[in-house]
């Protein structure tokens, strides 16, 4: 893909409790692989992938973070400038769902923008022992104005969709990614004045 075809580069974060499958989701999305022995992320890692959504080709730099509490003093510095975030929980572990509020809080504190697009992903739906229902996830997502999908990095279910919908929403959000090239809603003062001069007797007789 030639560089000039790329609309923009977006920074996407993946956050959530440790062991919910953040790195596996990412690997499934970027390399379409799944490794049951995916090692625990230390600090942050990232992958790059170019995708086309609605005819717009965007490059994604996806930052994968470690979920351990101790790393939480380290990872938020990499939240800076992200336009989208994927917040992951494990549908088979209720406590990973219960911690979502904390993660949102974290995001609010450290992300440098307030209009960041958020996607909630319930991972590991391939497993049988489900502790968090789809409705619960959906309700939470609604309450916090997030996108929502259930997925399985193992079976591929919903993974592609999660990233695509997120990107779609980001591209549609004005002011989130475009630079101030020709700003919408801006107005030029100078031209107008020239026009007025042409109305030679603009102010009555005098």
């Amino acid at each position: 893909m030639a560089d000039q075809d790329i609309l923009t580069t977006l920074k996407i974060l993946i956050i959530g409790e440790s062991g919910v499958g953040k790195s596996s989701l990412l690997l499934r999305f970027t390399d379409d692989t799944f490794d049951i022995e995916q090692s625990a992320t230390i600090g942050v890692d990232f992958k790059v992938k170019t995708i086309t959504v609605d005819g717009n080709t965007v490059k994604l730099a996806i930052w994968d973070t470690a979920g351990q509490e101790r790393f939480r003093t380290l990872t938020p510095s990499y939240y800076r400038g992200a336009q989208g975030v994927i917040l992951v929980y494990d549908v088979t572990k209720r406590n990973t769902f219960a911690k979502l509020d904390m993660w949102l809080n974290e995001l609010e504190t450290y992300s440098t923008r307030t209009d960041i697009v958020k996607m909630l992903v319930g991972n590991k739906i391939d497993k049988e022992k489900v502790e968090v229902s789809r409705e619960d996830g959906l309700k939470f997502a609604r309450r916090h104005a997030m996108l929502f999908i259930e997925a399985s990095a193992k079976t591929r279910d919903g993974v592609q969709c999660a990233f695509e919908e997120l990107v779609q929403k980001i591209v549609q959000t004005p002011g989130l990614w475009e630079m101030d090239h020709r700003p919408q809603g801006s107005f030029s003062v100078t031209n107008q004045r020239d026009d007025m001069d042409n109305y030679c007797s603009y102010c009555s007789v005098l």
């Binding site: 409790e17 440790s18 062991g19 970027t30 049951i36 022995e37 995916q38 090692s39 625990a40 992320t41 230390i42 600090g43 942050v44 890692d45 990232f46 992958k47 790059v48 730099a61 351990q68 101790r70 790393f71 003093t73 380290l74 510095s77 990499y78 800076r80 572990k93 450290y110 440098t112 923008r113 307030t114 209009d115 002011g175 630079m179 101030d180 700003p183 809603g185 801006s186 107005f187 030029s188 003062v189 100078t190 107008q192 004045r193 007025m196 109305y199 030679c200 007797s201 603009y202 102010c203 009555s204 007789v205 005098l206």
Partner: protein
């Protein structure tokens, strides 16, 4: 003969009129051309704002032909005739009914010759233009004679319809002198103190409203109703049925706020360093400065002496650089004199003034200033939601004050050299504070806030360093008695108290005695020994400013996305993991990786159910932790039991602080201002919002309505949105310049409104319940080009306008009298004015402009021709007389 001079043809249609429809029915073929209808249409008599041809001929659609180069006008009558006849032929051939005009003579004379064809009628548009009006043309009677002579019409013809308008001009505002303070900053600074320092100025430098025009109009009456000759006239403005008022505003009005901002942006465009601007005397000693530890706490313990001299003394004795400054100062060379510099520095660093500074920083920094609703209650700032996304720094914090002060400096205290000088002094002060471990005031606490500007982050970083250093020095001084502090600086120090631990573990051999414990980790016990599991003191991760973070992320990115890159990244990131593992090992000497994981990543420990709580639990690591050679295991193997305080520091405050100071010192005043641009804009927007009047005003017609809304507040919103967007991008002075121009536009509007309000409402503007209709009048005057005064000459609006004229007249008559005497007069005059017309004439003075419009419908050129419209328009100004005529002739029955 060539047509070299013809280039532009523009179809002009008056702004308010929709494009006339062009379809032409056969049935209506006999109808007069549109142009002639317009000529006779009374609706278009005295347009508020239009092309001069609209005014003179009442046309709504026409074509003008003008020379492309205004310096080569069409001077010869023959060429003009040629052009006009060519146009006539063209119009004939194309059946064009739109009148065509040729501009002749110099453009500023506005001379046009024109012709219009259609429906068997030819109309010639002609005009004469003199400096002085011929005597017979100075009154209605004379003009009527001219008109009738031209048409050679008999007395029995239908009467001529006459419209007259007299315009009176008010240019003097004796009772409302322009109150804007001149920006004499030096005077206010040295005499009054520095109360103005923290505020950006606002408003127009001179009165943005230059004239008020009052027009008395007699619209369309028959010729015999009005008498106006050289000896008698009953054209008394007081009896005119229609009064209209119009404001004339000065163009390109300089306004203080936008001028300051523009000058600030001007400084931004410079990319010289301080020493390039000010010479080698102002070189910063970035590397060679040796901290004077002996006096480290002097300033903290020093009794506060709030006098300025002590501050000067403090600055001078503090560091080498300042002494250099003083020496330069002695030669009177420094751009900012000391007596001005000291208040500025005190304003930026108020804690240096002593315990009771005159301008302390707010305790918490917010994105918008406090806002009071009209009823005096605290409310949300109107820009709060928008500005919360602004990458700037808190209101009235150090960065904010620096931006505001630099605006003053750039505008009125010497520009670029002065900015360089001030920045030099600020850097010296910052270095002094680092050297003496004194926190920088007016900066948000905590680690660098990435949502603020880089400058603010750097200050925060410096404060982080100062805090770490203070903590380090405190603990080293408190423990120096029982520890050999030879290489203190090399190690991280924690404020732990280990004596208890030492006692409880007295039996252990010294090499593996536990160190650096905070507390027990719940009820967890070590797997092997069943001892309690302790949480260790750990090192805080290094705070980073966004530029360092970017560098760091850049390094991570460069490692690539393959497996090797991931592994290298993990290795880089593992420094903090290693540090934590070493601390853990030190606190729990007999721990294994499983114990560490139970504390650090509990979900990776899978415990078997039903184990005895008093026995070491049974379980295993998760599969991912069991992968042979995985990073966690590897790091664990390499970790030595070292408590955090003896580990190599992850955060080297000395090095970081020096880096920050170096970064700051390497900023020239231009780059400094570039970094302050978002904050300066932020401050300007908040300054605009302080003008409450803004929120009542309509958007000016000079600005295209940005979002189909007509209030000035929405214009401010749009500007703010753009500022927020720009604040997140690398500073671009051109874009900020555009923004400054937009801010200027809003500022002019507000200043104009203030001026008009002040004039019309006078002191009542401040009084409660000032009359509603006058407020409305103010808004309408600002909003529309021309306002018809409700109730004519006797309406309340007219009274207010009359009052202004009376005051001006009175003042011009009694030049030497003190103006206070006149306060009772307006009412007096008003009653007088109402009682008799003669008084009203004098109260408005002589009309500056008189316009007479005559028109009729008579057969021409012969008595048996069709009646065709004719129109004559005369304008009489003090130094100009123009008579324009549109005379038609029936080409069929001639």
């Amino acid at each position: 003969m060539t047509h070299h001079s013809i280039v532009s043809e523009t179809v002009e249609s008056p702004p308010d009129e929709p494009e006339p429809s062009t379809d032409f029915d056969d049935e209506e073929a006999e109808k007069l051309p549109k142009a002639l209808e317009d000529m006779m249409n009374r609706e278009n008599d005295f347009p508020a704002r239009a092309h001069c041809l609209v005014r003179w001929y009442g046309l709504r659609e026409f074509v003008t032909i003008c020379p492309s180069n205004p310096n080569h006008p069409i001077m010869s009558p023959s060429k003009a005739k040629l052009l006009l006849s060519s146009a006539t032929i063209a119009a004939n051939n194309t059946n064009c009914q739109v009148p065509i005009f040729v501009q002749v003579l110099w453009p500023n004379e506005k001379m046009y010759l024109g012709v219009g064809l259609g429906s068997g009628v030819r109309t010639d548009y002609d005009m004469v233009h003199f400096r002085q009006a011929p005597p017979q043309c100075t009154h209605l009677t004379g003009l009527l004679d001219v008109f009738k002579n031209k048409l050679q019409c008999c007395v029995t013809s239908p009467p001529v319809l006459v419209s007259v308008r007299f315009t009176y001009v008010l240019t003097e505002w004796p009772h409302t002198l322009w109150t804007q303070q001149p920006p004499d900053f030096d005077a206010t600074l040295t005499e009054v103190g520095f109360s103005d320092l923290g505020k950006l100025p606002f408003g127009a430098l001179s009165d943005p409203v230059s004239e008020l025009h009052l027009s008395a109009t007699w619209p369309c009456v028959t010729e015999d109703v009005l008498v106006d000759s050289d000896v008698y006239s009953d054209l008394d403005p007081g009896s005119a049925p229609l009064w209209t008022a119009r404001l004339v505003t000065s163009t390109s009005q300089p306004c203080l706020l936008s001028e300051y901002l523009t000058d600030f942006i001007h400084v931004c465009r410079n990319n010289q360093s301080i020493s390039q601007i000010l010479g080698p005397d102002y070189t910063q000693d970035v590397d060679g400065e040796i901290a004077e530890f002996s006096s480290a706490l002097d300033r903290l313990t020093e009794p506060s002496v709030p006098s300025l001299s002590s501050v000067v003394g403090r600055v001078r004795k503090g560091h080498k650089g300042a002494r250099k400054f003083v020496s330069a100062q002695s030669g009177e060379n420094s751009p900012i004199p000391t007596d001005i510099l000291i208040p500025i520095l005190n304003y930026l660093f108020p804690d240096a003034e002593g315990d009771d500074p005159s301008d302390p920083y707010p305790s918490t920094l917010t994105q918008v200033p406090e806002w009071l609703a009209p009823n005096g209650e605290a409310a949300d700032h109107p820009l709060k939601a928008l500005l919360s996304n602004m990458k700037s720094s808190g209101v009235d914090g150090l960065v904010w004050r620096l931006a505001v002060v630099l605006c003053h400096v750039a505008h009125s205290l010497g520009g670029l050299p002065a900015a360089a000088h001030l920045w030099h002094e600020v850097i010296l002060e910052l270095r002094f504070r680092w050297d003496h471990a004194v926190l920088i005031p007016g900066v948000s606490s905590g680690v660098p806030d990435l949502a603020s500007t880089i400058l603010h982050q750097k200050f925060q970083m410096l404060n982080c360093c100062i805090n770490r250093r203070k903590a380090r020095e405190q603990s080293s001084s408190s423990k120096s008695s029982n520890e050999d502090g030879d290489d203190e600086d090399e190690f991280y120090e924690c404020d732990e108290d280990m004596e208890e631990d030492e006692k409880s573990n007295g039996s252990r051999s010294s090499w593996d005695k536990p160190e650096g414990r905070i507390k027990r980790c719940a009820k967890l016990r070590l797997l092997k020994t069943n001892e309690p599991l302790y949480i260790p003191f750990t090192q805080e991760p290094a705070p980073m400013t966004e530029d360092r973070l970017e560098e760091h992320a850049g390094v991570l990115l460069r490692l690539g996305t393959d497996a090797l890159g991931s592994q290298l990244r993990a290795r880089m990131m593992s420094a903090s993991l290693l540090s934590d593992m070493e601390s853990f090992k030190a606190a729990n000497p007999s721990a294994v990786l499983e114990d560490f994981v139970r504390w650090y990543s509990p979900r990776d420990w899978i415990e078997e159910e039903g184990s005895d709580p008093n026995q070491p639990p049974q379980g295993s690591l998760s599969t991912r932790m069991q992968i042979p050679g995985n990073m966690w295991r590897e790091v664990w193997t390499n970790a030595k039991p070292v408590p955090a305080r003896r580990q190599k520091r992850l955060f080297d405050d000395t090095r970081e602080a020096e880096q920050v100071l170096h970064w700051l010192a390497s900023l020239g005043p231009g780059s400094l201002c570039c970094n302050l641009l978002p904050t300066a804009t932020h401050a300007s927007l908040c300054r605009l919002a302080e003008e409450r009047l803004l929120f009542d005003l309509p958007a000016p017609s000079s600005l295209p309505q940005p979002c189909h809304s007509s209030s000035l507040a929405t214009v401010l919103d749009v500007i703010t949105q753009r500022a927020v967007r720009l604040s997140r991008q690398p500073p671009d002075t051109n874009k900020y310049q555009e923004l400054a121009e937009q801010i200027a536009e809003v500022e002019v509007c507000v200043a104009r409104a203030q001026s008009v309000r002040h004039k019309i409402l006078g002191d009542a503007a401040r009084a409660e319940g000032s009359s509603q209709h006058l407020e409305e009048l103010v808004l309408r005057l600002l909003d529309s080009p021309e306002v018809s005064l409700e109730g004519g000459p006797r309406g309340p609006a007219a009274l207010a306008v009359r009052k202004l004229f009376q005051q001006a007249r009175k003042a011009s008559l009694l030049l030497d009298d003190s103006p206070q005497d006149d306060f009772s007069l307006p009412e007096h005059r008003q009653s007088y004015g109402n009682s008799g017309h003669s008084g009203a004439v004098s109260e408005l003075g002589k009309p500056m402009g008189r316009e007479y419009l005559l028109r009729t419908l008579v057969p021409f050129p012969t008595a048996y021709s069709r009646p065709v419209p004719h129109r004559m328009f005369a304008v009489l100004l003090p130094n100009e007389f123009r008579l324009t005529g549109a005379f038609s002739q029936d080409t069929t029955f001639s």
